[in-house]
């Protein structure tokens, strides 16, 4: 507990220092030799009724902080190296530990005026939906909280979606008014940290898990941008397997969980309006411990509209629907309504506020509500973000 408290205080201090430095000398990026350095910091205030989300938010919580710094080095016309460190504190679900978000070498094997093909080796972000690659940066996601219905923000699955340690093939084709792109990411097996296991299975069940690993994750995304990005379409797929070694006083057993799914994404951008909708379906099959071959289908859908009053001020609204079990919708479904404002007083600063109404417990972190969860939640959130 002390360690956690110190970590959080450390993050706050670092955030305050970065922000102070930024105020004194505003820059758009730092250049160290040939390496371009960018970063971001954001801090939220959350007040909720019904359930806690990230800390004791029913009394007001500031336990939602994101910090990151990245470097990008163009070694030559074919080779790029990029890496990012990130720290995220989010109530009991994330403790602010510094993690390597991505670190890879990017080799562009083929490039012409119309097409290109390359490979990234190392830890790469998984392309999944429009926002997964940059989900922890307030500037690049559609609201303070990611759309829960598609991105599994509050229930511990987010960490599994982040990144793969492996190889990513990417390619694109351009013609007059269309850019089409493809990426296929194949990761190697890796162990799942204890806190992620706890977020997925809950603290009681997680204590029986000795070891957990993720096997052979494969992600793909095929997308197209029409008319200079006015219309964007994408289809993303994922296939991952999780394996848990479970030790109970009476037995030692293994449980596997296979998840296969897809997201369809569509966005239409106008001068003042942007409309975005994404639909996801992930089928999960369990083997071992309780049953063999049993499965559920998780489904989520959201639709968002954003209106820009000026280039600096916009409002958005979003409706979301999700269910953990498509065959038992009435017992397992959640819906959300989000209304929010975003103000960018300067290209480097953003102030965002969202009011969120939740029916059901989708996206409500179990670990922030050890006494159990309620069916309804209202959340008021404000977040300030800085980038360079």
């Amino acid at each position: 507990m002390n360690l956690h408290g110190n970590t959080v205080r450390g993050i706050r201090t670092a955030a305050a220092l970065i922000l102070a430095a930024a105020l004194v000398s505003p820059v758009y990026a730092y250049q160290v030799g040939d390496v371009q350095i960018h970063g971001f910091a954001s801090q939220a205030y959350l007040l909720s009724d019904g359930n806690n989300i990230y800390g004791d938010s029913q009394r007001g919580s500031t336990e939602f902080t994101e910090l990151g710094i990245n470097g990008n080095w163009q070694a030559n016309s074919k080779l790029n190296v990029a890496g990012q460190l990130i720290s995220r504190d989010a109530g009991a679900t994330d403790n602010g530990a510094v993690k390597v978000d991505y670190l890879f070498a990017d080799y562009k094997a083929i490039e012409s005026d119309e097409t290109g093909l390359g490979f990234r080796f190392g830890r790469v972000r998984n392309a999944f939906g429009f926002y997964n690659e940059t989900r922890d940066i307030l500037f690049t996601r559609p609201s303070i909280f990611m759309p829960q219905a598609v991105y599994f923000e509050g229930n511990g699955l987010r960490e599994l979606l982040f990144s793969s340690d492996g190889v990513q093939l990417y390619s694109y084709w351009d013609n007059d008014d269309q850019n089409t792109y493809l990426s296929i990411t194949m990761g190697r097996d890796k162990s799942i940290p204890r806190d992620v296991v706890r977020n997925i299975l809950g603290p009681r069940f997680a204590s029986a898990v000795r070891y957990a690993r993720q096997l052979n994750p494969v992600y793909s995304q095929l997308g197209t941008n029409l008319n200079g990005g006015k219309t964007r379409l994408a289809l993303s797929t994922l296939a991952i397997a999780l394996e848990f070694d479970i030790h109970t006083p009476t037995a030692v057993s293994e449980m596997t969980l296979d998840a296969n799914g897809f997201v369809t994404s569509i966005q239409h951008n106008l001068q003042q309006w942007s409309f975005t909708s994404e639909y996801s379906q992930v089928s999960v099959k369990y083997n071992g411990l309780f049953s063999s071959g049993a499965g559920i289908t998780v489904e989520g859908l959201y639709a968002q509209a954003q209106y820009r009053f000026t280039p600096r001020v916009s409002a958005h609204s979003r409706i979301e629907y999700s269910t953990y079990d498509r065959d038992n919708r009435n017992e397992q479904d959640s819906s959300q309504l989000v209304l929010g404002l975003r103000w960018t007083p300067d290209p480097q600063w953003i102030i965002a506020t969202d009011i969120i109404g939740v029916r059901g417990t989708g996206g409500i972190p179990g670990v922030d509500n050890p006494q159990g969860t309620n069916e309804r939640t209202e959340i008021f959130s404000v977040m300030v973000g800085y980038r360079f």
Partner: protein
Amino acid sequence: MASWYKDKSTGGVVSSSLRGVQWFSLLILIASLTVGSNSVAQVSGETPSGETQSIRVFTHDSIQAGELSTAKLRAIFSLRKRSWDNNIPIRVFVLPDNHPLHENFCKSLLKVYPYVLRDQWDRAIFSGIGTPPTVVKNIQQLKQAVENTPGAIGYIASNYLQTHAGSPAYEPAR
């Protein structure tokens, strides 16, 4: 010294006919997709002050880029295309997002909304998949940066040249 590739006068006024639409009503939103795509398809090169500017793309001397089509400009400024035909890495220089010349460049030459371009850059910057553009503070800095950086590409207002350059070296090559 620099070479010039594009010279486009701009004009027209973007319609704001969508303003009255209720932003929270999903049904009306879907309907407005059809209405809206017609009303904003036209590109405006007008600056906030109302004056129109013509913009040119220019590159460092090391580059013989040939004609830069809209598709090629988009590939370069969206950070997909990374090197010139002679293998020199492309270095993109731009003005801040809220600079009138940047907005004008996006609308009249790239034909991309500035916020859509910014979204593309941010995905590249914060997932590492592209070399970020270098943002400089003003036109003078942008001009100097492009002139002094091998492989550089940027943009500039034509009238800036008339008032600040005066040298035949800065006349458009084509």
